[in-house]
């Protein structure tokens, strides 16, 4: 709370006999400072983590799904694509990290929509808080989800016999990149969340976007096997960029130019979808 308010008339700071301390003591501010915005965002992030703790099924997509999908994909496609399950693991584990994180992003948007329909959102609207905080808070909390998703995928892979060549540091770097990518790509689905009318609608649209993004990438197969027009898309798909970078980090332990491209791809997604989301969210706040 920084400035005192309202240069013109300042009735709230003029003591008169009838005034009660409730009005007088108040330091009114005309805007929310950056520090307060961050504090409010963190408070709302805390709220989201409490919600996760109480509704464990909300974490299924980042807990059960990585276990199931990793095993399934490895055993089903391993032989066909790489000749053996073990040979496929370096390709599929890193690809699946992209896929699980993207699934977790879908939930970010859907849950935002659900949240906005709830009564508590009405209260957020009348509180003197940064208008962006109720959007930013859950997004910060979702970092935990991306971390769980990528860590579990790696763990399942290692249990199946995957030995990442990048070592501990490489894997940690890859997880970190996955979290950053998750947060960035989540803006796409957050935007859907802010424009959709219902949570189901948001879910539907999100899946329609998520599946092409995942499958038209290098997540499951090398793009070299695709027809050229498809490869053209798959190669610039931000999901491909991120997965390539994750592979470099986890399998080779190398911070390559691909990492830079991945971060650039993420930045582009943020630059496009964050302003869109904030604008349509503010219209509803």
């Amino acid at each position: 709370m920084t400035t005192t308010t309202n240069p013109g008339a300042n009735p709230t700071t003029t003591p008169t006999g009838a005034d009660r301390p409730a009005v007088l003591d108040r330091q009114l501010s005309t805007h929310v400072s950056l520090r307060d915005t961050v504090a409010q965002t963190m408070t709302l992030a805390w709220r989201s983590t409490m919600k996760m703790r109480r509704n464990f099924e909300q974490l299924f997509d980042v807990t059960i799904q990585p276990l199931l999908f990793t095993a399934m994909f490895a055993y089903i496609f391993g032989g066909a694509i790489s000749g053996s399950v073990k040979g496929y693991l370096p390709l599929i584990i890193t690809g699946l990290i992209g896929q699980t994180v993207l699934t977790a992003c879908v939930a970010t948007g859907v849950q935002l929509r659900e949240d906005m329909d709830k009564g508590v959102f009405d209260r957020f609207k009348v509180l003197p808080i940064a208008r962006i905080a109720p959007l930013a808070g859950p997004m910060v909390a979702d970092l935990i989800r991306y971390a769980i998703a990528s860590t579990l995928t790696f763990a399942t892979g290692i249990a199946l016999g995957y030995r990442p060549g990048g070592g501990v540091l490489g894997v940690l770097g890859a997880i970190l990149l996955a979290i950053v990518a998750g947060w960035s790509l989540a803006w796409i689905f957050t935007w859907f969340g802010t424009i959709g009318k219902t949570a189901q609608g948001v879910q539907g649209v999100s899946l329609m976007v998520m599946f092409p993004l995942t499958f038209l990438s290098n997540a499951f197969v090398p793009t070299a096997t695709m027809p050229s027009w498809l490869r053209a898309f798959a190669d610039v798909n931000p999901v491909s960029l991120v997965i390539t970078a994750i592979r470099d980090l986890a399998n080779d332990g190398a911070v390559t130019g691909h990492v830079g491209w991945a971060l650039l791809g993420c930045a582009v997604v943020i630059a496009v979808f964050a302003p869109l989301s904030v604008r349509s969210f503010n219209r509803k706040m």
Binding site: T5, T12, A22, R26, W46, R47, M50, R123, V126, P128
Partner: protein, 348 residues
């Protein structure tokens, strides 16, 4: 400037349109500091819409509104710092416990961790929720939710509280508790603006009342002023013989100078009284006429009658405070009050 100094809320010509419907159609409102101001009206009268505009929740389509002198449209952030709002539906987080909810709202509004905790403890105690403090909200009854909701609005001790139908859907006992709580707020120095569709609630709580119907303010004044605008009280007679009704009506009309309301089916006659001793005149005259009376009561007009008279039955919407009133009178005001219908006509 002086006038705004003393006002908690000041609205002039407030308008809200939804499509071609004017939900709020030019309402003026002045709420003084430290009072409980009641906005009374049937469902769909525009009460909630008006409150939402004043609370920065809905854009104002026409007119101006100020809260403690701050323009609601231009200084929303400042206005929100001065307000506590409790809506018709509990707006607390279902996933958190009562304590966590209060902590959340305290922290969001810049209270320190310790301060939030202390304030939460005090409020839970004040609202009789200490035992349920650690329970999830989903296990709460309607009354408990509503109390928690109000507590959440009070965490930063805002000087102005908006209560949108604070007791709708509550059982009579919980309702009484809520009323006590609201009265306490005022002794602590809060200004309260509440909407209600319950006439007795406005009567019980509000220092001044505005009656709203179809987006228009039809009357304003204290509960007593509104009642006297309809007639101070009435003498209700149950006649022994329905055949006397006609004669008794004429006698009463001659004596009090106003139109009595006969209800032939119940052998009843309601006589509006300007002064209480007119009752004696009427009774003496009827005795001389030989009209047998089975029972009698003198009734003060209830706000129900005022309400019906002002909104429901083509009466002239008199306005004791002198503010303008438009007649919103074509006969459909919802009726919680079928029993008093006959008396209402006394007012017309």
């Amino acid at each position: 400037m002086n006038s705004t100094d003393t006002l908690a809320v000041r609205a002039q010509g407030l308008v809200k349109t939804f499509g071609d419907q004017r939900a709020v159609d030019g309402i003026d409102l002045e709420v003084h500091r430290g009072e409980v101001f009641g906005v009374l009206g049937p469902n769909g009268a525009g009460k909630t819409t008006m409150l939402k505009m004043l609370a920065t929740l809905l854009p104002i389509d026409g007119g101006t509104a100020e809260v403690f002198g701050h323009d609601v449209s231009r200084e929303g952030h400042v206005v929100r710092q001065l307000l506590g709002v409790t809506g018709q539906y509990a707006s607390v987080d279902e996933n958190l416990t009562a304590t966590e909810n209060l902590l959340l709202f305290g922290r969001l509004q810049g209270l320190s961790r310790g301060e939030s905790r202390r304030r939460a403890g005090t409020l839970l105690e004040q609202f009789d929720l200490t035992e349920a403090a650690a329970k999830p909200i989903s296990a709460f009854s309607g009354g408990m939710r509503r109390r928690l909701d109000l507590a959440a609005s009070l965490i930063t001790r805002p000087p102005l509280i908006f209560l949108d139908e604070p007791t709708t859907g509550l059982d009579p006992r919980t309702r009484g508790q809520m009323w006590d709580t609201i009265r306490e707020l005022v002794t602590e120095g809060c200004t309260v603006l509440l909407t209600t569709q319950y006439l007795d609630e406005a009567d019980q709580l509000a220092d001044r009342i505005a009656v709203i119907d179809r987006g228009v303010k039809v009357a304003q004044g204290t509960s007593d002023e509104l009642k006297s605008s309809v007639g101070r009280s009435s003498l209700v007679l149950h006649l022994a013989d329905p055949a006397d009704l006609q004669a008794a009506t004429e006698t009463a009309r001659r004596l009090v100078g106003e139109e009595p309301v006969p209800s032939p089916e119940s052998r009843r006659l309601a006589v509006p009284l300007e002064r209480s001793d007119q009752a004696v005149d009427v009774l003496v005259a009827l005795r001389e006429q030989g009209v047998g009376i089975e029972s009698l009561t003198v009734q003060k007009p209830s706000l129900d009658e005022v309400f019906m008279a002002l909104t429901g039955h083509g009466t002239d919407p008199s306005d004791p405070s002198g503010t303008s009133g438009t007649s919103g009178t074509s006969g459909t005001a919802s009726s919680t009050t079928s029993t008093t219908t006959s008396e209402l006509e006394a007012a017309s």
